[in-house]
Structures are given as structure tokens and as C-alpha cells.
Symmetry: C2
Subunit: 270 residues, 2 copies
Amino acid sequence: MRISGRSPIGVFDSGLGGLTVFKALARLMPEESLVYFGDTAHVPYGSKSPEAIARFSTAIARFLASRGIKLLVVACNTSSAWALPAIRRAVKVPVIGVIEPGSRAALAASLRGRVGVIGTEATVKSGAYPKAIKTLSPRAKTLSQACPLFVPLVEEGWWTGDVVAAVARRYTAPLRAARVDTLILGCTHYPYLKKVLAKAMGPRVRLIDSADETARATERLLSESGLRAPKGRRGSREFYASDAPERFARLGSRMLGGAVRRVKLHPFDA
Amino acid sequence: MRISGRSPIGVFDSGLGGLTVFKALARLMPEESLVYFGDTAHVPYGSKSPEAIARFSTAIARFLASRGIKLLVVACNTSSAWALPAIRRAVKVPVIGVIEPGSRAALAASLRGRVGVIGTEATVKSGAYPKAIKTLSPRAKTLSQACPLFVPLVEEGWWTGDVVAAVARRYTAPLRAARVDTLILGCTHYPYLKKVLAKAMGPRVRLIDSADETARATERLLSESGLRAPKGRRGSREFYASDAPERFARLGSRMLGGAVRRVKLHPFDA
């Protein structure tokens, strides 16, 4: 398939969380066409094995490549942490993950180079954020904390209130004790908990949501490659899910703050 | 494959929760051999579509049938609620789900026929418990409540404490208001939260864990078919997982209160 500036950008995530990145891309570059894939048959990735994460991720990357995308954004932190090399081997288009843009944004925001990272069990286990931060700034210190309950809390819609506040206090206790000055929200679901997390961490800690930074990295790469869409038009939006497309449409509409229509079902073997 | 009394009983669940049923079977019939399958590549089933649940369940049932089982216990409530007919069509051995035994136990325990049911989103949506209870006792009243956060809380190991108590109070409020006298723990993970749930519901509400009742139904059916294992021996135990077998062994050992060794990896396409 011939790739041009009019070709869509592919975005994929284990489920609905990557819609935060989708939203940031659509806001920054409304003229770009976007095709999103949510792997709702296998969600969540956070407790799965590195092998399974790589298997699911490459199958989806190949499917999106077959739809003629010009660039692939891996919006899922867990997949970015474990499967980027395998995805890059599987497709010919450029691939952008969320770890490196998020780390870069954190270091730009950090005053004393003490960075906290929260994410899924698998993302934290991968050590991908500490490695990326070490490479960008060898003197920075990183402390990571897995927060397995945040994704189910977001999906249950409990974004505020006593329960989520208590969970946030408990998970962030070691990060507060370590006096981090910046906190990377290392999972696409976490921006929905920004208020609660800001309260738990206190006013002096900056929260980094990698969605905006990833959108900017995507724009940079497209501009450098001469692959930006023509200005003035409005890009198309297309959605695929590997299971339960109606549920995706319902929750997705709530998360995007607008109607997500015609979600196509695409189950796959991997 | 020729089936005899020495053949194993197959047990399957979307993940680790079905080990509560496995444990009840092993306690009641130590001489029976057991082979367990946890679908850790697709866990949790509770938010997946009925079609996907049936697809995964029948693939696993066929795999266990190929291992020569004499009977299949569907320990997963979500799968029992949506996929029993499909599973029964897929394999030739008798199939026992957890809904009917659980409903029977609840009615036996209930004084005023006011039964509460808690379960996953998919189990509650299926209406399987209210239907089963209506069939067994037309005058009984049933009220169901989905509790999506309980499974992640159990898997995080937060079985007691402030957070789980607050979540339990919130989920059970409508059940308390409806003055149910019996509560079915309609998900294999929930028995780990028995203390917290007992406190939330108050001393007069009886909690029904379908694991024991399902084990008794299994024993009855095997006896009636002349397929009980010879007494005096100790049955073998075998474990399969569709992903992350080491994680299964680690958490499974904790849940069974004993070492779960040699968990075999069996990914499958469905």
C-alpha cells in the first residue's frame, strides 16, 4: 500500500486507555486521520507475560500496517515497555512509544531530578522508565511503584471519592517518602485520576501525562519526514476492538467526551 | 481416549479464582485426580463479550477433553452464566457449572427467600442466578449487584483493611437496603473477601460460597455414573495456564495454601 501524507496514523492500546493519546493527537493535529485499535479481548496487559504482550502487540501492528498507516503510536505503556523492538521488526513504518516522550517531559519538568513513576505491574517490572531516564540524564534518580488497582478504578468510573483517594494515598506513600519532585503517570488510564493524585502527592510535585508529549513527538517525526496531512481538512477517525465493540463505543464516548461510532470488531489469533 | 474412574476431573476458570473450587474438590475427594486450566491470557472474563467468553470456554473444554477427563467443572461464574450450552455441545463428558449448585445452596440457607447475588459485570448481566433461583423456587426474590473491583482487589492481595471495606460497603448498600437474608458470592474470587463481606452485610445475612456445593454436586454425579476413583489412593494434580505460568504458580500457591508446581504453559487460539 502506498503511504502518503493523507495516510492515517495508527494508534493502539490494550484497551480504552490509549484514547487519551488519541485525544491529544486529534487536538494537536485535527487534519490527521487516525485509526485506533483497542485489544479488548486481552485487556489488561499489565499482568500478562512479556511473551504474550509482544505476541498481541505485533499482531495488532501488522493489522494496522495492512490498513495503510504512515506511522504507529504505541499508546500502551506496558506494550511500549516490553514490545517496541518486536513491533519495529514487524512493520516498516516508524513506531513511537510513550516511554521516551514521557521520560523527556519529566526531566524537563523536574527541578531536582527526582522522578517517580507509577504504572502497571508489567511496566514497572520492565524497568523501561528508569532506563530511559538514565540514558537522557545519568544523574537523575527514579523510583517506580506498580498500581494495579488504578485501571479497574478508572474503568469502574470511580475517578473521585473516598475509595480512590485511599488507594492513591497507599500507593504513593513510598514516592512521597522518597520526596520525588515529578511523577510520571506511566499508564494511559491514569490521567483520569489526576486530581486525586495531585492531592495525594501535594502541590509541589508535577504530574506528567505522556499523552501530550507523545503527540508532539509524533508531529515532529511526521514533519521531519514530510508526511504531515494537508492543512484545513478534518481527518477521519476509525476504531477497531478485538472484543465487545458496543462496550468500547459506550465507554469510549465517555472518555473522549464525544460520540465514538461504528467500532468495528476485529478478533485475532496470536 | 477411554474414560474410567481413574480418569481426572477437569476444572477450568478464567484465571486463578477457580482454585477455590479445585480446593473444595480436593478436600472432599482426595483420591480424585484433578487437572486445572486457568485462562490467564484472557483473564478477566467479567468485562468481555458473551461471544468471546463462549469461544474461549469451548476451546479450553476441548483441550481438557483431549487430556482424557471424565467430567468437566466450569468453576468460572461468568463462563457458567454464558457458555454452558456451548461447552456441553463441544464435549461429550458431563459438564457442571457453579450457578445451579450455588442457587440451590442459597435457597436451602435462606429463611425468607430474599437472595442477593454479587458477581462480575457479565455474570450479573446474564441474569443466570435470578433465572436459576426462579426455576428452583418461584416465590423467591433475587437482587443482583455487579462488583468489578473485587477481583482486582483480591489479586492485589488487599483482602482486609480500609480500602476493601469501603468498596464492600458501597457495593452492598442496595442489597442491605433490600434486606436480603442470603448473599451468593457469585465469583470464585469472592470467598477471599468473606470476612469483609460478612461485616458489611451484618450478622444475620448468610454468605454462600458455591465452591463446596459444586464439589458435592460433582461427587453426586460421579457416584451416580459409577465413575468415582478408587478409595485410598491420592489423586494427581496438574495445572495449565494460557499465559505467565510462573505468576500462576506463585499466586496459586498462596491461594491454595500449598505449593503449585510445574504449571504448564498452553496458549491457544480462539
